[in-house]
């Protein structure tokens, strides 16, 4: 039985300085190409959840799949180094992956080619266009159940135990059916580190390559591109007043709280 984790290489937006968020008037784009390429944080959580499941049961096989150019193999190598069994890259041009329908179509093509796949994990969204819909559309295309906002999955006694956060509480699901699961942030679910030896070994492991030519027929049925007209950035025009030591800062804070909440002295 196989679990697939769909992972994506993204720019580390935490490394982009506030002043660098500028839309280039000519290209109508934002140049953040200097930022590091990392694995999408939600995908990291999904990957760690998958590895914890495969750690707990020998009957589970793990695989990662990504869509992208050769650069994106870095995250596949990382996944192989921390214990994932197989890695696949779907080779496409960047412009072919701008809508969640296109991405879901490419993944659908890959997943339907392998009957062993029981569970597909996706991060809830990636950090660039923030569509957050790939997993759900994929589930609909596959005709499988879809569980969103999942923060924990365990595999026990041939069942997947899935926990997802809803507005008023936590839903616990027990199933052995095929499903697509989108993963949200999860407490203490940080991606494990690879040892140096495993990192070296991972460089020698094969990565299955699926070329665009093979998947082109899938794309013909996809929705046309979403029309992104422009990008804008809302800059704050606030002037922050810094509290200085002229008067005890804690007293100033106390006064501010009282003023804005219209309360008696605390």
């Amino acid at each position: 039985m196989k679990i697939i984790s769909c992972i994506k290489q993204v720019y580390d937006l935490d490394k982009v300085l506030e002043n660098d968020w500028v839309v280039d008037e000519t290209s109508k784009n934002i140049d953040i190409s200097y930022a590091n390429l990392i694995m999408n944080p939600y995908d990291e959580t999904a990957l760690e959840l998958m590895l914890r499941m495969t750690d707990s049961s020998k009957e589970l096989i793990s695989e990662v799949v990504t869509i992208g150019n050769q650069k994106s193999e870095a995250i596949l190598r990382k996944a192989l180094a921390i214990g994932v069994n197989y890695a696949t890259r779907i080779n496409v041009k960047e412009q072919d992956t701008t809508t969640p329908f296109n991405i879901a179509s490419l993944l659908h093509h890959q997943i339907t080619s392998d009957n062993d796949i029981q569970l597909v994990l996706c991060g809830r969204q990636s950090d660039i266009l923030n569509h957050g819909q790939t997993g759900q559309i994929l589930a609909q295309k596959l005709g499988w159940s879809c569980f969103t906002n999942v923060f924990n999955i365990k595999y026990e006694n041939n069942y997947f135990h899935i926990s997802r956060l809803l507005n008023d509480g936590i839903e616990h699901i027990k199933t052995k059916e095929k499903a697509v699961i989108t993963i949200t942030q999860s407490p203490n679910m940080f991606l494990r580190m690879a040892t140096l030896m495993n990192t070296m070994k991972a460089k020698q492991k094969p990565i299955k390559l699926i070329d665009l030519n093979e998947t082109a027929k899938v794309k013909k049925n996809s929705l046309e591109e979403y029309k992104l007209d422009k990008l804008t950035i809302e800059k704050s025009n606030k002037e922050c007043i810094f509290l200085t030591n002229d008067k005890e800062i804690s007293l100033q804070l106390n006064e501010l709280i009282n003023n804005y909440l219209n309360k008696e002295a605390i």
Partner: protein, 317 residues
Amino acid sequence: MKIAILTNHDIFTSTKEIDSVLSKISLINSSENKIDLIYINNGFKDSSLSVNMINQIFIYNKINDKNLLRSLSMVAIDYNENHNPDLFIISLKDSNDDFVPFLASKLSIESYLNCESFNYNYKTKRKTIIKPVYGGNVLGHYTLNNQAVISFSLDARRLVTKKTKSKSKIMFVDYTYDIPKDIKISKSFEIIESNGIKDAKFVIVCGYGVGSQENINLVKEYAKKVGAVVCGTKKVIDLGWLPMNLLIGSTGQLISPDLCLTIGVSGAAPLLNGIIKSKKIIAINKDKDARIFNYADYGITEDFKDVIFKEQTNEKQ
């Protein structure tokens, strides 16, 4: 321009969720536009119900399917065949993220989650939406191709909508369908005690700079004294210092309290999106160059423990 809002919120008790949706729609020449509400309710017979700005309320009263997504999608497809709206807006209790792509995929139309606003220009016939992209650092302006399904970001902000004099027309729909056999999935639900964030007037947001679980506990003690609710950024939740339902930001809760005090928050865009509508923001962060100060009304560059402990000492004196 015809818009259909599909909801499962209890519209008989409160229409605040519908008001929230309506406050984000900007329709030029609004008399030319129609907004319908689609609702599933088997027991409802009262035709005096009216919702502000809604022309017609379609009540599907013969649906007995326990599968929520399927029943909603079947109803939406039936409505679509009969009324062909330009836009579906989805406002569900828990399932926007599930249902919007699901319906879009069924109807083969484009879909957008967590939009900030929708605009229709009557002259140019252009339908546009604005949604956060690049992790909330940037706003993307999209033109919708033809038909689309969207949802708006959930928020607890106080809203003002235009009041209309006209009354909604109630339409009862007797549509039914054959319910297929579902696969067996066992489900249970664990209720989490309400944290009061949505209605809180004073919220303290803890960031990674707070430093440890012990320090979070100190902030909680302080919050009790000043009558605030404590919540956290994604990093704080990831570290398990606070429970997940206390996450503030684009993927958590969007708040608009009278006062928001941030402690050890650097000011990443997803968090800022969650607190930006606060009436006043006070930020405590030792790094004077932290991004949060660009969005705060007041800034304190001291160690938060010095400020809070002194506060408590002063209080004792």
